[in-house]
């Protein structure tokens, strides 16, 4: 069969040490990913009702989490993402030096508040398959605004030729609030920074159009673009692990563009060596969805593969306590405040010769277990929320509050232990480990 020039598949991209493309990769159909499947009711009643028909009891969750609002107009991300797209500026800004433009786009995203900005060279395997978005507007995931951006009859190879770069811009969430994960406090850290990332990406997308270039959303798998551009390495928990923020970064829908840029390279943070030994996320996962074993090949990609269905299935039952679990992100030893001793440690790990790394990793893991604990139990109090109150109990622990509540005031808020629902010992009984 004759191949039209410019449509042959480029060689598989190098994605760093943590992920390897070993076979043909089929483009992922966005409509077959967990949230869209759930919104069509294919994962059972409990999950469907949690996703489509649940109003959160927590006011902050109602304004910040997708699909649990009482009124969608109070949820900024849906306002921003459902807005019509602007036109591409007809007077294009000439780019003589792509390196200067790359520095400029990164400075722009940082100016808007992004924590991480990288540029990936697009590859056909990164793209989602060309499928129509769901007809039912309520079934569209509010974070995937791909309705206007279509392939226009092109193949993935032609798309990559036409739009060769993917800009990954994202935010990290708050470390201190994350310590109360599996609690509304951790949810707030996660969801608010996610909304901020949506706003930044929308503004950046608009700015690229103002420069006179195309900006396509809902096209690229953000994790693949993140790996190729060195946002981080893929950990055992299936999350990108960043040099500065660990696993606490969002991976929202990236921007595919024809703006001339200089792509970044994959990074080596030592995640590959750490994940071989650590297994902290696998031990702490309340549903045992993170593998203890080796990497597997899935869709032509060799990587650690989590069991997304068991990860997903616990959520409807935890609705009264939290919206986002985040256990694997929190317990990851790379998830630390962005301070000098963390920079020093990650630098030491990535500067260490690879054969010597297991020794260093064991030492670092022992330090992490000793000082941060094998599981997170710290108590966080924020805005009247208190992770030191046992799940199911209610009390006001705000110092100096004398208001008449429906619930009692805690006599003396003491202790530093945080409670997270569900407790691991309660889920070990009915979820099997895969060792």
């Amino acid at each position: 069969m004759a191949v039209t020039p410019g449509t042959e598949t480029p060689p598989p991209p190098y994605l760093g040490r943590s992920v390897r493309i070993v076979g043909p990769v089929a483009n992922v159909d966005m409509n077959q990913t967990p949230h869209p499947r759930n919104s069509r009711g294919e994962l059972g009643k409990a999950l469907f009702n949690w996703y489509r028909n649940t109003i959160s009891r927590d006011p902050l969750t109602r304004v910040s989490a997708p699909n649990h609002f009482a009124d969608q107009r109070n949820f900024l991300a849906s306002v921003v993402n459902q807005a019509p797209k602007g036109k591409i500026n007809s007077s294009q800004v000439a780019v003589s030096d792509p390196a200067a433009m790359t520095r400029h786009i990164k400075a722009v995203a940082h100016h808007m508040g992004a924590d991480v900005v990288t540029v990936a060279r697009a590859h056909p395997s990164f793209l989602y398959a060309a499928t129509a978005p769901p007809k039912d507007s309520a079934a569209r995931d509010v974070y995937q605004n791909r309705s206007g951006d279509v392939y226009q009859g092109r193949t993935p190879e032609q798309m990559v030729q036409r739009y060769p770069y993917i800009i990954v811009a994202t935010t990290a969430w708050d470390y201190d609030k994350l310590q109360a994960h599996r609690h509304y406090i951790g949810d707030a850290a996660y969801h608010v920074s996610q909304m901020k990332a949506q706003l930044i990406l929308k503004a950046l997308e608009g700015y690229i159009r103002e420069l006179g270039y195309a900006a396509l959303r809902g096209m690229s798998n953000p994790q693949a673009a993140g790996l190729a551009s060195g946002v981080g390495e893929l950990g055992r928990n299936g999350l990108l692990i960043h040099r500065k923020f660990g696993a606490r970064i969002h991976m929202p829908d990236a921007i595919m563009t024809d703006l001339p840029l200089v792509p970044d390279r994959p990074v080596d943070n030592g995640v590959e060596d750490f994940c071989k030994i650590c297994r902290k996320c696998a031990i702490n996962c309340p549903t045992n969805s993170v593998p203890f074993g080796d990497k597997v090949v899935f869709n032509g990609v060799e990587k650690y593969k989590i069991n997304w269905l068991t990860c997903y299935k616990v959520r409807p039952y935890m609705d009264a306590h939290w919206g986002s679990c985040l256990t694997c992100a929190t317990v990851c030893p790379f998830t630390k405040p962005n301070v000098w001793w963390r920079s020093l440690t990650v630098w030491a790990l990535s500067a260490c010769p690879i054969p010597a790394r297991p020794l260093l990793v064991r030492a670092l893991k022992a330090i992490d277990d000793r000082f941060w604990g094998t599981t997170r139990q710290s108590r966080v109090r924020w805005l009247g929320y208190d992770s030191g109150i046992k799940p199911g109990e209610q009390a006001c622990t705000v110092a100096g509050c004398t208001a008449e509540h429906g619930t009692a005031h805690a006599a003396e808020p003491v202790g530093s232990i945080g409670y997270y629902a569900p407790l691991k010992e309660n889920t070990n009984r009915f979820v099997k480990r895969d060792v």
């Binding site: 304004v63 107009r73 807005a83 602007g86 036109k87 400029h104 400075a107 909304m195």
Partner: protein
């Protein structure tokens, strides 16, 4: 955490990099050819959501005030203050004023970059107003010409001769975000 390294960062590094950026002036000063490429109109013109029918179990007004301020700071505002309103049209007793740092004044720099302080301010005020509505109280955010006056009344700074807000923390390099008017029980500064 006591061992932060923020003090090691050189304050002028980023500004220096911008000086050599050939596209920075376009970013700050060229108004968008299509207003739909800016997120400001999208957020400002969005219809307001409903007030949640059940009022939340609030703490005392003093505690609620500190929580509102903490939430505003968490959403990214640099200064936040509360003041009382006299003869408001809708009868809201309080105004929450958020002030964000502004490298460029959004009133003078029409580019998408020049509007970034307004964008940051809108993020804070939209989410904060929506959160108050979900607590079961009325809250409306709107652009208003007397925003600097209300910011001064909320003791965030003083007004200069031209009616611009001058703050102790950031001088005049600030942007007063849209004012939230609310009937949430608060204690004005």
């Amino acid at each position: 955490m006591a061992l932060r390294s923020d003090w090691l960062k050189i304050p002028w590094r980023r500004a220096h990099a911008r000086h050599h950026d050939p596209y920075w002036d376009f970013f700050i000063n060229t108004p968008p050819a299509d207003r739909a490429n800016s997120v400001l109109d999208v957020i400002r013109k969005a219809p307001e959501g409903n007030v949640f029918p059940t009022k939340a179990d609030l703490h005392t007004p003093e505690v609620t005030t500190s929580h509102v301020k903490e939430m505003a700071r968490y959403l990214g505002t640099d200064l936040v203050g509360i003041t009382t309103l006299e003869n408001d049209d809708a009868g809201h007793p309080f105004a929450i004023v958020c002030v964000v740092r502004a490298d460029d004044d959004p009133h003078e720099a029409p580019g998408i970059g020049g509007q970034v302080p307004a964008q940051n301010g809108l993020f804070v005020t939209f989410v904060l107003a929506a959160w108050i509505r979900e607590l079961g109280f009325r809250a409306t955010m709107a652009m208003s010409p007397d925003a600097p006056r209300l910011a001064a009344a909320a003791k965030l700074g003083t007004l200069d001769r031209t009616g611009k807000l001058v703050t102790a923390e950031y001088g005049t390099r600030v942007h007063v975000a849209d004012v939230i008017r609310t009937d949430l029980p608060l204690v004005p500064a």
